[in-house]
Symmetry: C2
Subunit: 193 residues, 2 copies
């Protein structure tokens, strides 16, 4: 009785397992059987905690979006020149991406196939718009090149940063801190005047 | 008889439809029913041309990988200083991405869930290794900063470039040429010494 030998699951630890499975197999490619197998419990036990796969997705996406939103509340995102605030946000997004790798990995791949996904995409667009407005302010103060549309610059920065979920391995040669540095150097270095 | 009113499909035009469906819904989320519906023909008619969904995926991935490989054969990728060759490759990858948007979009999202996907990932890794070696040469000749691992720099450049498949819209504000310029400015500008 493998399941009984373990610490019993609660909704948070089940969400941990589910987002890892979704990140590995893709949300559409993953079934509740896959989640149950990874958790080492029966599907029925999972339905004791949660209504289904989309609810688990919703919980994982919520973690990712809450962590991104929290960055915008940090002092470094709100004090000082726009160029420095932008650098703070970009570095913290990279750090949060490594901290919540499966959650962010799932967030970056959703396409709006359900109400849960559509709501998360809307939330993420609001985040991107806030950062784009920061890029525009940094352009206006002269710390970022002005020959690139702020929305395009934002998407390119996060395109680079978000791509790390596809290839970062915790046992690889580069640490999260080194990669966050590299992202800031390349993405923000390229935007400097 | 909607299907008969159209130009009959051949394997190439069916592949066009299939990669668009895979790009929109995700390969795992797309069914042969979706492909048949998008093509306006019956599933049986599709199986007249191709053995199944994985074969259509294989044909789409082959187009993407052939286009990437062809870039490495171009004179601009083989003549002159490494820094200039790197810039040529990065610009051409961005251009090819916009030319073959659904094919590249599908390629960038596969995870190795089948032999077809694994083979394509191996091909793509060889491409990335060639570019990483170009980054290393550009570092050695002093045209690219040396404080970032060449493999990491390659992944960050393509992370930025590849992300465009997620948000580029042909009717959007930026043209493919403008976006390719922006990618070169940011990704390569950030690598400059």
């Amino acid at each position: 009785m493998r399941a009984e030998a373990r610490k019993p699951y609660d909704i948070e630890s089940l969400t941990n397992v589910a987002v890892r499975v979704f990140a590995e197999r893709g949300y559409d490619g993953a079934s509740m059987d896959d989640v149950a197998r990874a958790a080492g419990i029966t599907k029925a036990s999972i339905y004791h905690h949660v209504t289904g796969k989309e609810a688990l997705l919703g919980r994982g996406l919520r973690r990712a979006l809450d962590a991104l939103s929290a960055i915008l509340e940090e002092p470094g995102s709100n004090r000082g020149r726009a160029g420095a605030r932008l650098e703070h946000v970009v570095r913290r997004v990279a750090e949060v991406t490594f901290d919540l790798l499966p959650e962010l990995s799932v967030l970056f791949r959703i396409r709006g196939n359900s109400p849960t996904e559509l709501e998360a995409l809307a939330h993420r667009r609001r985040f991107d718009r806030t950062v784009a407005s920061l890029v525009r302010q940094a352009q206006n103060e002269g710390s970022v090149r002005s020959d690139i549309d702020p929305g395009v610059a934002t998407r390119l920065i996060f395109g680079m940063s978000n791509s790390t979920v596809e290839w970062f391995r915790a046992d690889g040669r580069s640490s999260p801190g080194e990669l966050a540095d590299a992202i800031c150097k390349v993405a923000l270095g390229g935007l400097k005047i």
